[in-house]
Each structure stands twice: as C-alpha cells, then as structure tokens.
C-alpha cells in the first residue's frame, strides 16, 4: 500500500503561478478527487505526480520515497487521460499487451493476464477492435485496463470522463470506483465536475488559485465548507443576510441562529434547508415573492426574492403544485447554516 504526499510544491509557467505551496496527503488505498475550476492547478499537481512536469520547489513522496527526480517511465504509475490516448495502430488487446511488454511480461503469461483484464472490464467482445472502431466509453475502458494492467502502486486519472456523454459517464464512474475499491489502489482523480467528485471520492480536495483550500470527505465538504469559494463551488448556496433583533439575538430568514460571530453579516444556506410556506398570512419566517419555478422531478426549485436578496430553495414537487410566479409566500430557515461570511 502506497501513500502520496505533496509538500510545499510550487510551479510557475511564465506569468502564471499554477501551484503555490501545495500540500496534499493521499492515504494508501484512498481515492482523492482534486476538484476546482479550470486553471486552479489540479492538472498541474497530477502531472507533477505523474512525472510530466518538474516542480520549481517542494517535494513529492510516494510510499515514503521522493519521486521528483524519477523519470515518468520508471515511476510505474497507471495513468488515464481525458483524450483516451490509446495507440491507434493497436487493437484493444495489443494496447493492454503493450503495458505488460514494457514491464517484461511476455508470451502465455501476458496473454492470460490480458484476457483476464478484458474480462474484468467487460471488453471481451471488443478485444480485437482498433480504437477508431470503438465508442468513447469503450476506448476509455481499454485505457483504464491498460493503466491497471501491471498493478501499479498509484492510479492517476486526468478528467477521464469529461469527453463522454452523460449515461456512459455515470456508468464508467461507478466502474472506476468498483475497480479502485477491489484493487485498493491509491488513486488521484482530477475533475471539474462536483457531482462526479462527490459520487466517487473518499475525500475531495477542493483547489483554488494553485492551493488546496479544503480536503475532507464529500459530506463534510458539503455541510461544512471552509470558505465562501468552497461553499458556492460545491453545490448551490444562498448568501443571505443576518438580522440583529433588539435584544442582541441574530436571526436568519425568521429563525434565531446561535454560535455566529456578530461580525458576520451574511450566512450561507443550502436550498434544501429553506422551507417555503404557501400561506402568506402565516406568522412564520419572512415574506417573499416567487420569481421563478423550475420542476426538477421529485423536487421543485423556486427562486424567491426576500427584500433585495434572491434565495433558491428546493421543495417536494407535490408541495409545489400550482406555485406561480409573483405569488406571495413566506420562507423560513429550516436547517443548519453552512458558513458564516462577512
């Protein structure tokens, strides 16, 4: 089992500071997603780990040994790229065989192990197809099998699902997770898709401006974002004002909140933690006006204006029956606030 440790890694490309004092520890057998907007440094971090870029300062340890001076081809990590990267002149079988060949596994041993991998990834019937004869999902499956072929200590995935269409993406995502858990391989997965990150990770590393902002399991990042960037980047957040009542208490959307420093004038609230009251004359919460309604299946998302603030909230679709734009309603805080914000 192998862990990965970035310590104080910085990398600059010309004028752009891609990574700045980047620290990250990926435990052995863990799947960590690096998540962030484009240009946040997540791909640079992955490429430094893969050995395709050299850090300006800092060090990377894999299994306790520094790897920055080891050439990519001697690191022996498995890597999957966004653009499939299969060798166009080789069939699926020969692409996977190539990985074995480079590690000196030949002949009958190679053949049986390639067959086993083709079986494991459900590619048996496509074994003798060339990449251009396969769909994107099938190609990426071959690439995954090729990367895992020689049982590498670390698996690196660079936006592996971004070029695929939605249905295939979810299927392959679950498959990657299954393979990762079966093999227990330490995995770093780079993505800009928060849903992907939340569904697949043991921990999510949220990155911004070349640094790691938060590293935690998905439910924790969602429930307790460390700052307003994480709060708004992951899921939907409402930034609503905090009201002070005469006796020094603080209220948010008609409910008293405690444990917040009065210096904070705003809090972040998730849409599912705001309740909508259809009866405008009830004394609950604060008055609001419906601005738009969108049906999402089991839930309906409504946008309401409260004074000058727009808040998004989710309510069960059965309760949203007949909810119209411009309807007078009331909204109430009905759950925790995720973050206090100045």
């Amino acid at each position: 089992m192998t862990d990965v440790v970035f310590s104080q890694v910085s990398k600059r490309f010309g004028e752009t500071q891609a990574l700045k004092d980047f620290d990250l520890t990926v435990n052995a057998g863990e799947l960590v997603c690096l998540l962030g907007p484009s240009g946040c440094g997540k791909t640079t971090a992955l490429r430094i780990l893969a050995g395709f870029e050299f850090p300006d300062t800092g060090d990377v340890h894999v299994g306790g040994t520094s790897v920055v001076h080891v050439d990519a081809r001697h690191r022996g990590f498995g890597m999957v790229f966004q653009s499939y990267s299969l060798f166009p002149n080789m069939t699926a079988r020969r692409n996977i065989g190539f990985a074995f060949e480079m590690r000196g596994v030949k002949g009958a041993t190679q053949r049986s192990r390639v067959d086993a991998l083709l079986e494991l990834t459900g590619l048996g019937v496509h074994a003798d197809k060339y990449p251009h004869q396969m769909s994107g999902g099938q190609q990426q499956r071959v690439a995954l099998a090729r990367a895992l072929a020689t049982e590498p200590p670390v698996l690196l995935l660079d936006e592996p699902l971004s070029a695929l269409d939605a249905a295939v993406r979810e299927q392959l995502r679950d498959e990657i997770r299954r393979l990762q858990q079966e093999t227990g391989i330490t995995t770093v997965f780079v993505t800009h898709d928060q849903h992907e990150a939340m569904a697949i990770s043991d921990r999510i590393g949220v990155m911004n401006g070349g640094s790691l902002v938060q590293l935690a399991p998905p439910p924790e990042v969602y429930a307790h974002p460390v700052d307003s960037f994480v709060s708004t980047f992951l899921g939907t957040s409402n930034r609503v004002p905090v009201m002070a009542t005469g006796d020094g208490a603080l209220t948010v959307l008609g409910r008293e909140v405690t444990g917040i420093d009065p210096a904070n004038r705003f809090v972040h609230v998730r849409p599912e933690h705001i309740r909508l009251v259809r009866d405008a004359s009830s004394g609950d919460g604060v008055p609001a006006r419906v601005r738009s309604v969108s049906f999402l299946g089991p839930l309906t998302r409504a946008s309401c204006s409260v004074d000058d603030t727009d808040v998004l909230l989710d309510l069960p679709s059965v309760a949203a029956d007949g909810l119209a734009v411009d309807e007078r309603v009331r909204v109430v805080l009905d759950g925790p606030v995720t973050l206090a914000d100045r």
């Binding site: 893969a50 050995g51 395709f52 050439d71 990519a72 081809r73 001697h74 690191r75 022996g76 990590f77 498995g78 890597m79 790229f81 653009s83 990267s85 299969l86 060798f87 166009p88 002149n89 190539f98 990985a99 480079m102 590690r103 690439a143 090729r146 990367a147 690196l156």
Partner: protein, 274 residues
C-alpha cells in the same frame, strides 16, 4: 475524400468542374495529338481526331539511351531527396509537437522561406560559398539533393505536421512513458506505424517535385530528366512532348498508387492536410 464525392452535384458545381476539366484536358489532348498522331500539325482537325495514332515516337524516346540514363539519375535523386527530407524533418516535427509546441508557428514560417528566395539567388549564394570552400560538392549531381529538400520544405513539413497533429502525439507520448516505454520504443512502435500515411504523402510529393524540377538543375548545369526534356524538345519536338506525356502519366501513377495504398489501410490522402 469520399465525403466530397458523396455531396450532391448542383448545377454550379457541374459548371465549375466542367470548366476546370476543360482547362486541364485541352492542353493534354493537344500535347497527345501533336506527339502521337502521324499527321502534320497544320492538318490536325476535329475530323481526323481518331486517325493515325501511333506510340512510335514515345517508344523511340523511351528507348533512347540518354533518356534512360537521365531517368535513372532523376529517380536516384528523388530517392536521395526523399531520404534526406525524412531524416531531417521527422525528428524535428515530432520534437516540436511533443516538447516545444510553442515553436510551431515559428517553424511553419521558417519552412516557407525557401519559396521566398528565388532559385537563382539560392544557387548563386550556395555556389559562391562552396566553390571556394568545397568545390567537389558542386561537381557531383547529388549536390542537387539538398536544394530539392529545401525546395520541398514548405509542403513536406506541413504534411508531416498535419499528420502528427491528427495523431495527438503529445498524449500518446505521455501515455507510452507512463507505461514504461523508452523513447526509441515510442518512435518505432507508436509514432512511425501511425505516420505511414503522412510519410507516404511526403515521399510521393517530394518525388514528384524532383521529377519535375528544372530551375536548380539547369542553374547548376546538371542534366536531369526535366533539363534533358528541354534539350530533346529543341531537337525533336515530337519525341520531347511524347516523353513529357509519359513522365506526366508516371507521376500521376505514383501519386495514385500511394493514395490507393493508403486507402487500403483505411487511411485517407487528405489526412496529411494537403
């Protein structure tokens, strides 16, 4: 290519293609009639279009010993020019694509310079330099090879570049490295097999250029197929034109065979971006 063929032929397209066809076909027909019909030029009319054709003048020209000699020489020069082009350009193109993509625009501009400098200036400059330093260089007919390679540069480099770009070499390089492949393995097992198409295109075009190039050979006082054609046309216009026609057909055949070979491998000629 098949997509172009499959497109519907609108009236504008038919008119355009017809005009283009006439533009190319009429001179060829005139050449053929002059060279291969045993009728004096002044008596050639539409009425005797199908009379008196004979391949005798073409056979005469083709069995002429001088012609065979200059043809052999030109073919050798073509092979040498192709070899030099590939040896020089393939590593540069691959290196640029994999390691220095920022230099790409600069290199594309640089490869155009041979067409900015006229052959006369090029020959005079090079001849002046070598006559005083290495006079033996200019006495061999193979001194033409570097000129041909230079002259082919604008399109030979572009064909290689386009082939590499379609291949996404950078990612393939990184993928092969992460699998543990060395640089030579990557070249031999991944890049070259996938570049067959563009290598063939470069070779066919460079070869066709050498078989038709006149200015350099003439200026350097070398006798090649094209310069001998001119000589031949001075003495025996019929044989000269017959030979020119044969050369034309041969070059078309070479390019056609290359294209057919590519298509059999499921590749397309315009994959090379020309």
């Amino acid at each position: 290519m098949s997509a172009t063929m499959g497109r519907r032929l609108g009236p504008a397209r038919i008119v355009f293609l017809s005009i283009l066809g006439i533009y190319f076909f009429v001179p060829l027909l005139a050449m053929g009639r002059f060279a291969l019909q045993r009728i004096p030029v002044v008596s050639l009319t539409w009425g005797n279009l199908f009379e008196g054709w004979s391949a005798a003048s073409a056979i005469d020209a083709l069995t002429d010993e001088r012609v065979l000699e200059v043809t052999r020489r030109s073919l050798m020069l073509a092979v040498a020019a192709i070899a030099l082009t590939l040896i020089l350009l393939v590593p540069v193109a691959i290196y640029t694509e994999v390691r220095a993509p920022r230099l790409r625009p600069l290199i594309l501009v640089l490869t155009l310079t041979p067409w900015v400098v006229p052959p006369v200036a090029l020959v005079v400059g090079v001849a002046g330099t070598f006559r005083s330093t290495a006079p033996w260089f200019l006495s061999s007919p193979y001194s033409l090879v570097p000129f041909y390679t230079l002259w082919a540069l604008p399109f030979s480099y572009r064909a290689l570049d386009a082939g590499l770009r379609a291949l996404n070499v950078r990612t393939l390089f990184e993928a092969s490295r992460s699998l543990g492949a060395s640089l030579p393995t990557f070249f031999l097992r991944v890049v070259l097999p996938n570049m067959v198409s563009s290598l063939l295109v470069v070779s066919a075009l460079t070869g066709a250029l050498v078989l038709g190039e006149f200015a350099f050979a003439s200026l350097l006082l070398k006798e090649t197929l094209p310069t001998y054609l001119v000589v031949l046309q001075g003495g025996d216009p019929r044989a000269g034109l017959a030979l020119a026609l044969v050369v034309l057909l041969l070059t078309t055949l070479i390019i056609g065979l290359a294209a057919a070979a590519l298509r059999r491998r499921g590749l397309s000629f315009n994959a090379a971006g020309i």
